[in-house]
Amino acid sequence: MNRVELQALAERERDAQAAFRCRLLCCASTPCLSSGGTAVQEALQARVSESGVDAEVQVVSTGCMGPCSRGPVVTVQMAGQPDTVYEQVTPDLARRIVDEHVAQGTPVDVNVLPADMPFFAKQQKVVLANSGVVDPERLEDYVAQGGYAAMAYALREMTPEEVCREIITSGLRGRGGAGYPAGLKWDMVRKEQSDKKYVVANGDEGDPGAYMDRTLMESDPHRVLEGMAIAGYAVGADQGFIYVRGEYPVAAKRLERAIRSAERRGLLGSRIMDSGFNFRIDVRIGAGAFVCGEETALMASIMGMRGQPVPRPPYPAQSGLWGKPTLINNVETFGNIVPIIANGAEWFAGIGTEKSKGTKIFALAGKVNNTGLIEVPMGISLREIVFDIGGGIPDGAAFKAAQTGGPSGGCIPSDYLDTPMDYESLRQLGSIMGSGGLIIMDEHSCMVDVAKYFMEFCMDESCGKCVPCRVGTVQMYRILERITDGSATHRDLETLRELCTMVRETSLCGLGQSAPNPVLSTLRYYMDEYEAHINGRTCPAQVCEMNKVPVLELVAAGHGHNGAGHMHTEEAA
């Protein structure tokens, strides 16, 4: 397929869509499916067929629309009417939608999400623009939205050097967490001399509470593939791998299908769009190891080995997969490439703050009214996210902390609710942007217990290669366990701090280096809770059971029969 044919296909598809009087978009991503999305779609389809309006009404299964806690979600697109979004649709409501809204044009007045709801109004969709609009299993749908035009443009009008320069100018930074400028990384790989280079998309989203990458891969797989192909052209690679977590079977299936359909159309594979550029993409499925999110461990896993990291340098850009220069970026980073090429670097640089450009997808979860997937411009304040988009804390409870960055990040207390969400501000607060998990906690969460939870995670996930991480995390976990069962002393707190510094400074890879972050950040902001656990043997949030270990009481001299220094337990008394 060449550029002209691509345009023709897009126009044909747009005409076909316009021919429908009404389109019913059903979310078919994991959260909606597990709350009954399949039955809803079947009910819609059945009712449409029964009413004999097949020719004018189309039922489409799309990707994620965002408000996951309100699923299953259905959007009604009707000519001459603004889109209507229904939440918590049941098969019964689905039939009513067809009978009333579709047939008569008047929306059913139950379960409609208002269009001016802050949840939608405050978002800015760049990466997720197609998510919830296109059918992820149909290449034509993506092309109708202008898909693969950016790749066609890059292949024809730009040199690899220009593509790299465009990405540098855009100011795009890696969305995996560390925030390294993506363009510089591309340029480094491009400059390497080698007969073979690789592009790898990191979709091993191991952070608990984060599912941005999964949603992007499930909702708009072609965008990731197109981004990777442009990257391949820019750095001179002809082979790409996309590494998907084993827990995401739907994402892997949709990607495989997307790759096959793109190859059939000549949009991937050999001589792409009649140019001299070849690019193959293979899906690799992970097998459950958090450490594989680290780039060197991920490469080991792609090569069929244990996912253990190796020291850097050499960086993957010089010596990666099978010793060849390799470009590794997060899936979300690749999702940003298409809009940058399509709209220009200046447009992209106009979004966000001075140092953090563009938008960021967050998985908003925890104790907040509207949980789900949101995409906001960088620099938006945490308050806006929690109270406007998230709709506040349920049951009138008070906001206590927001946890970002998963087990490598930290907590942001309520005093800093007005902090802009960008790489630098978050780092200053002792947290990190991370991949985008954002867990809101209210007063019923004990921060020491939260630190213990993340330490347990790191302890389990430590690959065991280097000693500080393997042993240090266990020791830190034990101290935290003592604090939460009420048997710790002040000495333990000192040891904990020491261990934090040691593990951070001496671990081999990012997992170990960042494992102490949740502890350090809770020590910084919630010292009073640690004190209460140690001195008062009470848990302010009443989460920890403090009476598991009996109290040792020192009997004062003269009172005891055997003199001073004799101890006996409360239990024995």
């Binding site: 597990s34 509470g209 969460s445």
Partner: protein
């Protein structure tokens, strides 16, 4: 050189049926062929093997090691490194409890404790009668529905310890000695 000419390495001999006559080995052979017996494909091959057999028994790992010409220690190392691979047989029913942060904040630990009390098994174990396996997952990515569980491949959201035990009891039967319910 003599080693190289051994019949096992001959492509035709390789594709022949496994001596045990077990048809499931064919599935593994198909994956091996698809990846052209490349050693890098070890994880993919193990995925197929686990899917076909339910777990990775020693014979299976030996077979894979032979086919890919990898040392057995290498295969064993990979199989034990990743959480996804199981070296022990799994129960008839399985229940995976998500322990992601969102689920943790919404008290998934209580669900695990309830299961533990009812069936006397910890995450990663199977009941002695082989009926139920309980496992925990890092994050299933359905945080909007926290706490999330997967029972026999079906995703359940917003569960409480009581509602889950109800579900499991109807599938597996009570974990307590029988007379109470009868």
């Amino acid at each position: 050189m003599a080693v190289k000419t051994m019949t096992r390495t001959h492509p035709k001999r390789r594709a022949a049926e496994h001596p045990s006559g077990d048809a499931r080995f064919k599935l593994i052979d198909r994956t091996l062929k698809r990846y052209q017996y490349q050693q890098d494909a070890l994880i993919e091959v193990l995925h197929t093997a686990q899917e076909a057999f339910g777990f990775l028994e020693d014979d299976l790992m030996i077979y894979v090691a032979h086919q890919l010409k990898l040392p057995l220690s290498w295969v064993y190392g990979v199989a034990t490194f990743y959480h996804f691979f199981s070296l022990k047989p799994q129960g008839e029913h399985n229940c995976i409890v998500c322990m992601g942060t969102a689920c943790y904040v919404k008290r998934a630990a209580e669900i695990v404790a309830a299961l533990q009390q009812e069936y006397g098994i910890e995450p990663g174990q199977t009941t002695p009668d082989g009926k139920l396996s309980v496992a925990t997952a890092r994050c299933l990515g359905s945080c909007g529905l926290a706490p999330v569980l997967v029972v026999d491949g079906e995703v359940l959201g917003r569960e409480t310890p009581e509602s889950l035990l109800e579900t499991i009891r109807t599938r597996v039967g009570s974990g307590k000695p029988a007379p109470v319910k009868a």
